[in-house]
Symmetry: C2
Amino acid sequence: MRAYELAVGYPTVTPDSGALDAARLLAEHRLPGLLVVDGDHRPVAVLPGSQFLRFMIPRYVQDDPNLARVFDESHADRLSDKLAGKRVADLLPKEATAPPIVDANATAIEIATVMANTRSPLVAVSSDPRRTDAPMIGVVTVSQLLTRLLPPA
Amino acid sequence: MRAYELAVGYPTVTPDSGALDAARLLAEHRLPGLLVVDGDHRPVAVLPGSQFLRFMIPRYVQDDPNLARVFDESHADRLSDKLAGKRVADLLPKEATAPPIVDANATAIEIATVMANTRSPLVAVSSDPRRTDAPMIGVVTVSQLLTRLLPPA
């Protein structure tokens, strides 16, 4: 079983995608984070869901979480105003890095080794069997890989 | 909207759970990780899916990933043998820490502040409105919280 056979689709955004649309995509697919790809569909970063919240919650509340208690429900409804007009690029943390990438021919053990070493819950799969800087064809998640590696119950 | 209203169930294991059963639970629910709870159902750790792989992949392959390529499919089928007879406690990394916990009455903004500050994709919700060391009633995920905080499309 090779990476190109294991790869499944995963929602992606680009640095130019609208922040509000990106947040909706994450919410709709119930994801912990989104994959950010460039114009050639090569993965460039992982955008964790918590990063949207860091952008929405006022700085002084993040610094003193006790202040969060004084906000009422109407404030909660307005938090997402901060995302309007922003792009994914504005939300990406400076330390954001690309997810691990394997080539299309990587075996289950190679994928597992990459995941084990990077402690990543997913790897991106390149469309090229010889290099990892080609457009991405999908991802392999840790749960999917374990499904492949575990014996029948 | 309070934490006890937002909380949803999340698969849990205890330190005494079998490692193979735990891996199957993660695979079946397509999760990036599992919540580990004590005998009183209080969250004590997060067990990332990649930790199962770290346990299954031989140390010398993790140290030199090029060696992974020499393993064939029959090796892949036997990797999970390493989990047999092991418990979740054997797999937990030394640095494993409890997930962030909020009390049952925490507001959406309080939960969002905790997630933003800890960069966690979920928080555990305590059953007690006054303290966080009570049994857990469920979790709030970042995608669920964003669903609550975003305006209708």
